[in-house]
């Protein structure tokens, strides 16, 4: 086999073949493929031509770029992803200004329908609003042109997937997700989370290289290998949950013992992602593992529906439902019971005074009515 550019590059960086194969095996694991698949992956990565990637940043914090780079810990994945065919990435590329914009333009023109667009950040709905202009062009314009001509588009992170933080109420820039900003975009795939996990970005691209299409998706167009499990179902603290052992206060005895964070507002029961399994920062740890509740960052509108982050239930009209719903419900039940007693006293007294007669008993009722009227008169 002729030495590919990738292998030469690996050699130059002093990365052994063994390390490369370990990487392929770990990708197979993330993708939920059998171990035997790692050989197929290795072959695909070695021999296939790299897909051309274009990375667009709009209303974002570059957190997904950071995640993607795994800045502190360069690995084989970095090489595969960023030394090879990332034709445009504002934050990473050496070129700037017109040169950079030319690179984008020429990629779109030359590789029309063949490159993959990765989008980070949300897109303001109004092209003339003046929000988020790059090189004098609106984000909407750029997204429509670049994603519209791509073979496939990956929305990386929650902002590109669901609008994210910029789209949270009151959404001053009228921020949209890629799906909403570029209607009918081809082969769109979502990698929500804030930020998207580098393992998942890498695994997705490796899958694409190996299988030549996107993996199976969930109802939000997220790959099932990464979003098919509920955090809560794979959480290492689940045993504490099942036995009703909860952290009640930051730093209490239960917190120090790694009890479940449910009562501290953990959104693991409402969030699907593979954080407990794949973890973060090269398997160092993950949020719940270090004692912080899940914020639900991978779910639609998480900034609006998962807040308050440290309470069980969302607020109602700005009031904490976790704190007030049960007292209000109990008081309302009591109030209804009290009202019933008062209503009942009224009804029974009225009935005892003989006001109450079967409706069909006309004569009797009239007579009765008379009687009661005179009663009332005599009382006056």
């Amino acid at each position: 086999m002729a030495q590919t550019r990738l292998m030469r590059e690996l050699e130059r960086q002093g990365i052994s073949r063994r390390e490369f194969l370990t990487f392929c095996a770990s990708m197979a694991a993330v993708l939920g493929m059998p171990k035997s698949a790692s050989a197929t992956i290795a072959r695909a990565i070695e021999t296939e031509e790299r897909p051309i990637l274009v990375w667009l940043e709009f209303q974002d914090c570059a957190g997904n770029t950071e995640s993607f780079l795994r800045a502190g810990h360069p690995t084989v994945a970095d090489l595969i992803l960023d030394t090879i065919s990332l034709n445009y990435h504002e934050t990473l590329m050496a070129a700037a200004g017109t040169q950079a914009e030319d690179a984008l333009e020429s990629t779109v023109a030359k590789h029309k329908g063949k490159y993959i667009a990765l989008v980070e950040g949300s897109i303001p709905a109004d092209a003339d609003s003046g929000y988020c202009m790059v090189g004098g062009r609106s984000a909407l314009d750029i997204a429509r042109e670049v994603c519209g001509n791509a073979a496939a588009t990956v929305a990386v992170g929650t902002c590109a997937t669901f609008g994210g933080l910029p789209a949270a109420r009151p959404n001053p820039t009228r921020a949209l997700s890629v799906a909403d900003a570029v209607p009918g975009v081809k082969n769109l795939i979502h990698l929500s989370a804030c930020p998207a996990n580098a393992e998942n970005i890498t695994a997705l691209i490796v899958y694409y290289l190996t299988v030549k299409r996107w993996p199976p998706l969930d109802q939000y167009r997220r790959p099932l290998f990464a979003y098919g499990t509920l955090i809560h179902d794979a959480c290492e603290r689940r045993a504490h949950f099942d036995s009703g052992q909860f952290v009640e206060e930051w730093g209490d005895e239960a917190h120090r013992h790694g009890y479940c964070l449910y009562r501290m507002g953990c959104k693991g029961p409402a969030t699907s992602q593979n954080c407990p399994i794949v973890q973060w920062n090269s398997h160092t740890n993950w949020p719940i593992g270090c004692g912080h509740p899940c914020l639900g960052c991978a779910e639609p509108n998480f900034w609006d529906v998962m807040t308050p982050f440290y309470e069980r239930l969302p607020n109602v009209a700005g009031v904490s439902a976790s704190r007030w719903l049960d007292p209000v419900g109990l008081t309302a039940s009591g109030a209804v019971a009290a009202a019933a007693v008062i209503h009942g006293i009224g009804e029974v007294r009225r009935y005892r005074r003989g006001h109450h007669r079967p409706p069909e008993d006309k004569g009797h009722a009239d007579e009765n009515k008379h009687e009661s009227d005179s009663n009332e008169e005599s009382r006056k």
Binding site: P300, L313, H356, P358
Partner: protein, 228 residues
């Protein structure tokens, strides 16, 4: 004409009317007990205030199995709204006929002290019927939010995964959770009010309304034929 004052003792000058058929009574009591269990277990799930080996797991299990009983009851009762006797029909709950609208108006006036004539009718009066229609609406919301919350836990291959469309429908699992929690209080408040009205009616009408939900029979004043 054999007019009977409404406070005449049971049996004298009254006729036995078969009002609540067996499915109606069965559903009523199964709903009653399942709601108590669901509310107690649901309260714990939302606000787990004690611990013990696998308590949360067991309580969730009880909640889930009870919810199956509850949902089946609601479905059977809706079916019976088309198959049952006249007092069980859907039209007794959703007022579309003129009589039912009149009954609604009259019963509302009675309860608000604006009229002195209670609606004497073996089935539900207009206001009661409409209240039950609304509460069944709440039951459906509870079932739907419950299914949305459950389907993320459903095992692989479970048919309940078809309900995943309910998550975006409610605007996310957290919103479904909030609605589910509010619904519990709405139903409990309804139960308090329902109990009160039964006591009230059994005091002023003496039609045997309390026993009727066990036996199915009410004792209505004889003649002239009652109209809704």
């Amino acid at each position: 004409m054999n007019a009977v004052p409404s406070d005449a003792p049971l049996g004298i000058g009254r006729e036995r009317v078969y009002v609540w058929e067996l499915p109606v009574r069965l559903v009523h009591w199964l709903l009653f007990f399942s709601i108590l269990i669901l509310a107690a277990t649901g309260y714990y799930i939302g606000n787990p205030f004690f611990s013990g080996t696998l308590v949360m797991a067991r309580i969730r299990e009880v909640h889930l199995y009870t919810s199956i009983v509850f949902s089946l009851c609601v479905l059977v009762r809706v079916y019976w709204g088309f198959a049952g006797n006249r007092y069980a029909r859907w039209s007794e709950f959703i007022p579309v006929t003129r009589e039912r609208l009149r009954s609604l108006w009259k019963s509302t006036l009675f309860y608000t002290f604006l009229s002195r004539e209670p609606v004497e009718y073996p089935g539900h009066n207009g206001l009661a019927g409409l209240t039950y229609a609304v509460i069944y609406g709440v039951y459906f919301v509870m079932i739907a939010t419950g299914l949305a919350l459950y389907q993320v836990y459903a095992p692989v291959g479970s048919p309940l995964h078809v309900f995943r469309f309910l998550i975006p429908f409610f605007g996310g699992l957290q919103i479904a959770r909030l609605i589910h929690h509010i619904g519990m209080w709405v139903i409990l408040i309804f139960m308090v009010a329902h109990l009160y009205f039964v006591i009230l009616y059994s005091t002023i009408e003496r039609t045997g309304i309390f026993d009727s939900i066990l036996s199915g029979f009410k004792f209505m004043p004889r003649k002239p034929p009652v109209k809704p």
